[in-house]
Symmetry: C2
Subunit: 108 residues, 2 copies
């Protein structure tokens, strides 16, 4: 994909992206603290360590801001309900259409 | 070191070792839960993940029950105050002497 991103599109995408990052991090922190409070054995503690390691890896992979993949990242966030299509109003018609196409295929 | 370990020495060492493992794990769990409860940001959460990873590695390295290194492991536990020299009464005189020698050198 070689979409051209205007400055205003970049600003919009960045704001939507950052806000999704912050919201998901807040959920992760809450989930982590809930799990940690329930730990009673070393096995549970090491399992939580592995959970955190995996989660961090997946998070970094998911929130990849490179423009070459950003359309897919935004589509995934829409599909997961983390952002709304309306949040993306301001992107060019071809980008929005591409996001809709990705979503219509599903299964990402 | 090629000490011979009798069955009763093995039983004694195993009991002392296991009890130190359990005590240190209980401390680690308490420390982890304290730190986790204090987490407020994702940076702190990832830092705690790295702390756990390192701690687990060091713990597994420290509590190495192979008879070829057990004298050193026991000496270290004495030095750290996790076990008492008296807990080891029942080991042969040469083993106890070796432990004392290791402790007199210090700096392990």
């Amino acid at each position: 994909m070689n979409f051209h991103w205007t400055q205003s599109e970049k600003r919009l995408a960045r704001a939507v992206f950052d806000s999704a990052v912050q919201a998901e991090l807040a959920e992760l922190i809450a989930e982590f603290k809930r799990k940690a409070a329930a730990v009673e054995s070393s096995d549970e503690m090491w399992a939580l360590q592995e959970f955190l390691e995996r989660t961090r890896y997946e998070f970094d992979h998911k929130y990849d801001y490179r423009y070459s993949v950003l359309i897919f990242v935004l589509a995934r966030l829409v599909r997961e309900g983390r952002i709304k299509v309306e949040d993306l109003e301001g992107l060019s018609a071809d980008k929005l259409e591409h996001i809709h196409r990705i979503l219509s295929v599903g299964g990402m």
